[in-house]
C-alpha cells in the first residue's frame, strides 16, 4: 500500500520509458520502491463488443489486430474456438502451416524482446544487433504470408496460403542464419558482464508467488513453473512435434532472458521439423457462414504466454460473445511483486521483462470530442480552469491555479514559446485559411 510519508512518482500514461500508454504509481523511500500500483485500460478499443456486431470472418480480422506482435496468436486462438463449435476438421497441412507461422512469430517476438531488454539496460548495441537479425524472420513472414505483421493467413477452416518448395528452402536458409546468431546471443548472455550484472537478481518473482498470481509464459517458466500450452494442451500440430519446455529456477530477469533464448533454439528445431514433416493435402475446408449454437474455450501459447479465447455461438453468423484473455493481463499482476523493495532504476527492465503488450491487455477506446477549454462569458479572452476559476495573468508568466493545467493552456503556451524563438504560426495559419 502507498503510505503518506513516501515520495510518489507517477510513471505514465504518457512516458518516454513506456512504449505503450499505461500508468504506474510508484512510492519511493530513498531509491527503494515501497509500493506500486498499475492502472490499465488506456488502450481499450472495444474489440470484444465489436466482434458481437460482426460476422465470424470479419471478427477474425479485428481479432488479428488486437496485437501488433502476436497477431497470429490471437487469430489462431479464435479460429480454433470457432472450428471446435462448428465441428470443422482442419486438414493436417493447414495445421502445420499454422504452427510454422506461430513459431516464426515466436522467433520474431523473442528477438524483439531481447533488443528491448538490451535497450532498457542501456545496452543499445544488443538492440541494433537483434533488430537487424529480426529482419531476416520478418522478411520470411512477408514471403510466406504477404505481410510483415498482421499475416492474415488464418481463416475459419484452414489457412489462406500454401508453401512451395522454393519457400521451404528459403525458410531453412534463414533459420540457419538465425540459429547462428542466437548461439552468439546465448554466449553473450552467459559471459557478458554487463548483462549478468544488470539482470541477475533483478525483478525477482518467487516460484510460490508466480503460482499464486497465475503468471504465464516465459515469466512463469523463469520461476520454475514448467507450464506450456503447446505441451499441456496440444493444439495445431504440436502433438506430433518434438520439443522441450524451457524452464529455469533463477526467478529473475536473467532467467527470463535465458528462457526466451532457449525457446528460440527450440523454435528453430520446430521449424525444421515442420518443413520436413509437413504433409500434402488441401489447406482449406469449406466452413458454414452460420455457426451452430455452442461454446468453446481455446488456448494458445503465445510468445508471452497462455492466450485464452472464449467464444459462444448462437446459431447465427455473428458470435454471441467473444472473450479474450491475453497473456500480459495474467502477468501484469505479478509486476508489483517484482518491484517490491527494489530500486527505481530497475523498473524499466522489470516491466520490460514480462514483455508487456498492453494493446492485447486492454481492448477499447472511448470516443470523446476535443478537450474544450471553457472561457469566461463576460471576458472571452480569459480562460477558466476545470473548477471554473479564471486563470491568473496573461499566458506568458502564467502561474497555474493549484496544479491544474488545461490542454488549451499548454497549447497556447507552446505557441507563445515558439513566437519567442522567432517562429510565428499566425502567417502560416492565415495562408492555410486562404487555401481552404
Amino acid at each position: 500500500m502507498h503510505e503518506s510519508g513516501d515520495v510518489r512518482i507517477p510513471i505514465g500514461p504518457q512516458h518516454p520509458a513506456l512504449k505503450e500508454p499505461e500508468s504506474f504509481l510508484i512510492s519511493l523511500r530513498g531509491e527503494k520502491i515501497t509500493a506500486s500500483s498499475v492502472r490499465l485500460g488506456y488502450n481499450h478499443r472495444g474489440i470484444e463488443k465489436a466482434c458481437e456486431e460482426r460476422t465470424y470472418t470479419q471478427g477474425l480480422y479485428l481479432i488479428e489486430r488486437i496485437c501488433g506482435i502476436c497477431s497470429h496468436s490471437h487469430s489462431t486462438c479464435f479460429v480454433q474456438a470457432v472450428e471446435e463449435i462448428a465441428g470443422i476438421q482442419v486438414s493436417d497441412r493447414a495445421k502445420y502451416m499454422r504452427t510454422l507461422i506461430a513459431e516464426l512469430e515466436r522467433i520474431h517476438s523473442h528477438l524483439l524482446w531481447l533488443g528491448v531488454a538490451g535497450h532498457e539496460i542501456g545496452f543499445d548495441t544488443l538492440l541494433m544487433y537483434t533488430w537487424r537479425d529480426r529482419e531476416v524472420v520478418m522478411d520470411l513472414l512477408a514471403t510466406l504470408t504477404g505481410n510483415r505483421v498482421n499475416y492474415g493467413i488464418n481463416t475459419i477452416g484452414g489457412v489462406r496460403r500454401d508453401i512451395n518448395s522454393k519457400q521451404k528452402e528459403e525458410v531453412l536458409k534463414a533459420i540457419d542464419i538465425l540459429e547462428d546468431r542466437t548461439k552468439y546471443y546465448i554466449d553473450l548472455a552467459k559471459n557478458e558482464t554487463t548483462l549478468l550484472k544488470r539482470l541477475q537478481g533483478v525483478g525477482v518473482l518467487s516460484h510460490e508467488d508466480a503460482k499464486k498470481l497465475d503468471a504465464v509464459g516465459p515469466t512463469a517458466r523463469a520461476s520454475g513453473i514448467e507450464r506450456d500450452v503447446r505441451k499441456d494442451d496440444p493444439y495445431a500440430a504440436y502433438a506430433e512435434l518434438d520439443f522441450k519446455v524451457i524452464s529455469v529456477n533463477s526467478c529473475d530477469v536473467y532467467g527470463r532472458t535465458l528462457v526466451r533464448l532457449g525457446e528460440l533454439m527450440e523454435s528453430f528445431s520446430l521449424v525444421r521439423q515442420i518443413i520436413r514433416k509437413i504433409p500434402e493435402g488441401p489447406i482449406l475446408v469449406k466452413s458454414p457462414r452460420k455457426i451452430p449454437a455452442g461454446q468453446a474455450v481455446s488456448r494458445y501459447e503465445a510468445p508471452r504466454g497462455e492466450d485464452l479465447h472464449y467464444v459462444r455461438a448462437n446459431g447465427t453468423e455473428k458470435p454471441d460473445r467473444v472473450k479474450v484473455r491475453a497473456p500480459t493481463l495474467a502477468n501484469i499482476q505479478s509486476v508489483s511483486k517484482m518491484l517490491e523493495d527494489r530500486y527505481l532504476a530497475d523498473m524499466p527492465i522489470v516491466i520490460a521483462a514480462i514483455d508487456p503488450c498492453f494493446s492485447c491487455t486492454d481492448r477499447l477506446i472511448a470516443i470523446y470530442p476535443d478537450w474544450v477549454m471553457p472561457r469566461a462569458k463576460n471576458a472571452p479572452g480569459t480562460y477558466l480552469n476545470c473548477a471554473g476559476v479564471p486563470l491568473a495573468g496573461k499566458l506568458r508568466g502564467y502561474t497555474p491555479v493549484g496544479n491544474i493545467v488545461a490542454w488549451e493552456t499548454i497549447r497556447l503556451k507552446g505557441i507563445a514559446w515558439y513566437k519567442d524563438k522567432g517562429i510565428d504560426f499566425t502567417s502560416l495559419n492565415k495562408r492555410l485559411t486562404k487555401l481552404f
Binding site: 481499450h44 470484444e48 507450464r227 494442451d233 474455450v297 485464452l308 477499447l364 470516443i367 470523446y368
Partner: protein
C-alpha cells in the same frame, strides 16, 4: 486425474450437479452451478481438486440474465469452466480473490463492462474503462449500442 474422474467426483460430491457437468472434449469440462451453491463448489474445486490456477473469468449477457464463467485449470492441463447464472435485476457475485488473487482484474472487468456487482473486492482502480466513463453504461450488455457521440466532457 482424468476428465471422467473429475466429472464423477463432482457429481458424487454435489448431487445437484448431476447432468450439469459436460465433458466437451479432452481437457475441457463445463459445469453449470446454481448461484446459491456456487461458493462450495468453487472452494471444493480449488482446495480439494487442486484446480489452483485461474485462467480467466468471462462475463456475458444471455439476454434474460447474466452468466459468469470461471476458467480454472489444473497444472495448466485440464480446464474446468464453472458457470453461474445471475438475474438481470440484481446481478451479484462474491469475489473469489481469497482463493485466486489473480481474479482481481477479471472481476473489475465484470463490474465495468457488464455492471455485475462483485462483493468483497478491495478498493482500487477501475478497469478497463476511463475514470470519467458515464455511470450506468455497460458496454457488454446486449442493449448497449455504442457511446453517445459529442457527449459533454465531464472534466475538461
Amino acid at each position: 486425474m482424468s476428465e471422467k474422474n473429475i466429472k464423477q467426483e463432482l457429481e458424487d460430491k454435489f448431487t445437484y450437479l448431476k447432468e450439469a457437468v459436460i465433458i466437451q472434449r479432452k481437457g475441457r469440462i463445463f459445469a453449470q452451478v446454481p448461484l446459491d451453491k456456487f461458493d462450495e463448489v468453487f472452494a471444493y474445486a480449488v482446495k480439494q481438486m487442486r484446480f489452483l490456477a485461474l485462467s480467466a473469468i468471462t462475463g456475458l449477457d444471455r439476454g434474460d440474465g447474466f452468466e459468469v464463467i470461471y476458467h480454472l485449470n489444473q497444472e495448466g492441463k485440464i480446464l474446468l469452466n464453472l458457470s453461474v447464472g445471475l438475474s438481470k435485476e440484481n446481478p451479484e457475485v462474491k469475489s473469489v480473490t481469497a482463493y485466486c488473487p489473480s481474479a482481481d482484474i477479471y472481476e473489475r472487468e465484470l463490474m465495468d463492462l457488464l455492471g455485475i456487482k462483485v462483493s468483497g473486492l478491495t478498493a482500487g482502480h477501475r478497469y478497463p474503462l476511463t475514470d470519467d466513463w458515464p455511470k450506468g453504461e455497460y458496454p457488454l450488455r446486449k442493449d448497449w449500442k455504442g457511446p453517445v457521440r459529442n457527449r459533454e466532457v465531464q472534466n475538461a
